[in-house]
């Protein structure tokens, strides 16, 4: 703090050097700001970030095999599946010991359903063996197991048990990209069995279609709103904001009502004679339904950023171009359009990010051909109960969104997100 003129530190009223006093004040201010932020930060960390982290963990976690049959896994570690021989008697004895415990706590069925994701038949194998395990006599377990279920003589099951004995697995992720580890390296499933890659592809395709249709419909509206009198544009803006504020389910149900075969649009078309009563259009429960409804739902998210960029474009550039002989089209295309590109970028990324994670609308109007990867995630959580696979698919979707969001942040900045 020493000035060029004097070396003595400047003191405040109470004799503390000004520098020290200032630093103390700054530190107090920082602390206060932090104390104000802390409740929300802790709240979000616990209620939101931790659950996401838990999902990341679940996508690789695989404790169930090692926890349920620990001795078997240990004994399998020195078994070499490539010899083509079944494991020896000690392994069967270990399996007996493990399963006796597991049957008591009824965890063997959970293990069965876990392994069933990897090899079909595992679930019934464990249930069946579980019923027999109490009746087994001591000694010569291998024979008794083979008698209980001949699948215990199938080396494929042992290979799977050994492979998934590890605490962490990439198995869910491999599954999520339609691949599997067959014991000798990672292999993709045959083309006609690839469901997830296909679904990711379709999610991408539909999201791009929706983004493009939002852009085509949104650009003229934003242009009109930005170039008319403020009072009129405020009024017309309500027509954009009302759908924005209307519940997603209300809009989805409206489309469900409109697009049905006995719905308003088909009735109108039949009435005008454009289509015959027998030839009513199928516009719902397919990709058309998803695209129409989601374009309507996401259109405001395209118009609002476009509008806020277009409002800042000065009309004098276009006027200057025209005064120099450009026709309307050239003036628009060479002068106005390039200046509106940041708005296009912001709107398009926003719509794209929102649409690849959509669940409700595709579920209700998409049928089977118009569903997204989200619908598959929901299916694995609530119907097939394969949570690990749901988590792995979720992590992949999240990674895609994060990359897009990083781009969005670079173009627009998180702080510049505007609402309403």
């Amino acid at each position: 703090m020493s000035d060029a003129g004097s070396n003595a530190p400047v003191l405040t009223n109470d004799g503390v050097p000004l520098k020290v006093s200032l630093q103390r004040a700054l530190r107090r201010e920082k602390l206060r700001a932090f104390l104000l932020i802390a409740p929300l930060l802790i709240f979000i960390l616990i209620t939101f970030v931790l659950p996401i982290a838990d999902m990341l963990f679940r996508s690789v976690e695989n404790g169930i095999v090692a926890d349920t049959i620990p001795q078997t896994i240990k004994s399998l570690s020195d078994w070499d599946p490539s010899t083509g021989e079944l494991p020896g008697e000690p392994t069967y004895a270990a399996l007996h010991a493990d399963l006796s415990v597991a049957v008591k706590s009824k965890t063997h069925t959970r293990l069965g359903s876990r392994l069933n994701y990897e090899i079909s038949g595992a679930s019934s194998l464990f249930r069946k063996t579980g019923r027999r395990i109490k009746k087994m006599d001591e000694g010569n377990y291998k024979e008794q197991f083979l008698k209980a279920d001949k699948k215990w003589g199938d080396i494929a099951y042992w290979r799977v048990i050994r492979q998934f004995g590890a605490r962490y697995t990439a198995g869910y992720f491999l599954n999520a990209v339609d691949a599997e580890n067959t014991g000798d390296g990672v292999q993709f499933r045959p083309e006609d069995e690839q469901i997830y890659l296909f679904l990711f592809g379709r999610t991408m395709f539909l999201s791009v279609s929706i983004t493009v249709s939002c852009l085509l419909l949104g650009y003229p509206i934003a242009f009109l709103l930005a170039n008319i009198k403020v009072r009129t544009s405020n009024l017309l803006m309500i027509l954009v904001l009302l759908p924005f504020w209307t519940s997603l389910l209300v809009r989805t149900s409206a489309w469900k009502v409109l697009l049905q075969q006995q719905g308003v649009i088909n009735d109108f078309l039949v009435w005008t004679g454009l289509i015959s009563d027998a030839g009513r259009l199928v516009m719902i429960n397919n990709q058309t339904g998803t695209i129409i409804a989601m374009t309507h739902i996401l259109l405001p998210f395209m118009i609002l950023p476009l509008f806020s960029v277009m409002k800042t474009i000065s009309p004098s550039y276009v006027r200057a171009a025209k005064s120099m002989g450009a026709n309307d089209w050239t003036a628009f295309w060479r002068i106005y359009f390039p200046q509106s590109i940041p708005g296009i970028g912001a709107g398009a990324i926003l719509v794209f990010i929102l649409s690849i994670g959509f669940y409700i609308t595709p579920e209700l109007v998409g049928g089977t051909s118009g569903i997204f990867i989200s619908n598959r995630i929901a299916y694995h959580i609530s119907s097939s109960l394969n949570w690990g696979l749901a988590a792995a698919l979720g992590v992949m979707l999240l990674a895609m969104v994060m990359v897009l969001f990083y781009v969005y942040d670079k173009i627009v900045g998180i702080d510049n997100v505007k609402l309403g």
Binding site: I37, P39, I44, T47, G263, I356, L364, A378, W387, G394
Partner: protein
């Protein structure tokens, strides 16, 4: 685009009107689906289209039967009750801690500001299905899955980013010397906050609260996974209705929800105009 100049060529004239017609059609696309459900909700027959009676404007074609069903059916009553007990609590929680955090974030010396901001905004960015999946896994570990508290906490988390954004936007125009003046006259920080700062940023806080409210009130994905039958909200009931047996009562519910959206939109617009007017008066 403003008015057509008197020297415009016929081609320009044609394009001018064509463009307006195109825009008119797009506006129609935006607003028609929402507006069409209003008359359809008064259908006296359980159809999802206009009956000949309705088109003739015959009073016999209209009735309040769908509304009557909504207000008497126990399923819908239950859903309504759940919605109005979950959303306000989630809103209150999100708005109070969100406003505090926004004030903290707007101070000049906040370490790791952008990292904190990214974390706080994340519930808005992450696709709902992923939030729902994560929360479902985690909340069932800690016993919050299927509880009222779990749903409220989840909805509050989803609503806070909106509060942060709206309140931060209001604070950008906030004149810091006002709080300094209050402090120099002996007011402690708490008094300064309630007497000076809060009254000035209240429009931002209210619009943030409205966003948080509508987030919770409309939310269906998270509650679908996190809630149990006891937390069935209106959107959830609508979702099951649409997926399983679509009943015309949904149209009545949808109309009521459109009315709520219009009310919210009007309030927000009023707040926006008010704050614009106030800002115009006070030198920033």
């Amino acid at each position: 685009m403003a008015a057509l100049p008197p020297y415009a060529s016929p081609a320009q004239r044609t394009w001018h009107y064509t463009f307006r017609i195109i825009c008119g059609l797009i506006f129609f696309f935006l607003i028609f689906p929402i507006m069409v459900i209003v008359p359809l909700s008064f259908n006296s027959l359980p159809f999802f289209t206009f009956t000949p009676e309705m088109l003739r404007l015959d009073p016999a074609g209209y009735s309040l039967i769908n509304y009557k069903d909504f207000f008497t059916n126990p399923d819908w009553n239950n859903a309504l009750r759940n919605s109005v007990t979950i959303a306000p609590v989630a809103t209150l929680l999100a708005t109070s801690i969100g406003t505090l955090a926004a004030i903290g974030l707007s101070q000049s010396h906040v370490p790791f500001r952008s990292a904190i901001m990214a974390i706080l905004i994340s519930p808005m960015i992450v696709p709902l299905i992923i939030s729902a999946a994560g929360m479902y896994f985690f909340y069932s570990r800690i016993g919050l899955q299927g509880t009222y508290l779990g749903v409220v906490l989840a909805h509050a988390a989803l609503g806070t980013p909106f509060v942060i954004i709206t309140v931060t936007a209001t604070l950008v125009g906030f004149d810091r010397s006002l709080t300094r003046a209050a402090a120099s006259m002996g007011a402690n920080p708490v008094t300064t906050f309630f007497k000076v700062q809060l009254p000035l940023i209240v429009p931002g806080v209210i619009s943030g609260a409205l966003f948080a409210f509508i987030t919770s009130f409309d939310e269906v994905v998270v509650v679908l996974f996190l809630g149990s039958a006891g937390q069935k909200t209106l959107p959830w009931q609508m979702f099951t209705g649409l997926r399983e047996q679509i009943s015309p009562t949904i149209l009545a519910v949808a109309t009521l929800m459109v009315a709520i959206s219009i009310a919210l939109l009007t309030t927000l617009e009023f707040l926006r105009r008010r704050s614009e007017r106030l800002r115009g008066l006070t030198p920033a």
